[in-house]
Symmetry: C2
Subunit: 141 residues, 2 copies
């Protein structure tokens, strides 16, 4: 049985929050947007269709919870979310992963997509600590 | 009961293929990418969370079928798909809609996202006719 591990490119650009029923949850290292990345713990999965029906249903549940968490993060960061962007691209990093990004008309990429646009603003150590605490508390409910 | 209608901005940039169990299927009017847009027939829905659990499961099934159709379209257009991009953005057009876009390393936006990038190349009349025929045949199976 193949073991699950995070692609190093995902690891390099995000912090691990923990595990939902299907997915490893990562906090994207970008202060411009409250942004979580969900990585289904299924070695070798690249496309949605690589997940079986049960896993796809688990993914939906993970996305729904992450969406609430992203809105909560937006409130904490004073970047209140008015629209969610939910996407699997994987053009650069094939390992199946789903972005849940909190958007608002004042964000630097609005209304365009966020991927590969503008300059990343890395999170401060304090912001990482506070955000991970908030997210742990939320996901443990 | 509110009636479902397509947002005029979606109507202006795509052709109607037909209906899947949850979604109206639209062929995006852009010859650069085999690209379908799924619009759940639920008036007022903007976010994934506006769909109930059953509708979310129907959406998954619609996306899975559209993914196969996009790959088939890619073969027909001689633009073989190597990665799918599946996304709900809705920053410009809030009506809930999901993009299923066929990508390949030779496409003009690779590896960046397609939305709002470069110049749209509209489909020829012949390409629309042939593609809709192919899609009707596929979705009627």
């Amino acid at each position: 049985v193949a073991e699950f591990f995070l692609d190093p490119r995902i690891e390099a650009t995000s912090y691990t929050v923990g595990d939902l029923p299907l997915s490893r949850v990562q906090l994207q290292d970008d202060a411009r947007f409250p942004w979580l990345v969900l990585v289904p713990r299924r070695p070798g999965a690249v496309e949605l269709s690589d997940l079986n029906g049960l896993d796809q249903t688990l993914l939906l549940a993970d996305i729904n919870r992450a969406a609430i968490a992203v809105r909560m993060l937006g409130e904490a960061w004073d970047l209140p979310v008015t629209k969610l962007n939910v996407a699997n691209l994987g053009n650069v990093t094939p390992q199946l992963h789903w972005h849940v990004v909190g958007r608002r008309p004042e964000d630097p990429c609005w209304p365009g997509p966020v991927w590969g646009q503008g300059e990343v603003e890395r999170l401060s150590e304090d912001q990482v600590t506070a955000s991970l605490e908030l997210l742990h508390e939320f996901f443990s409910r």
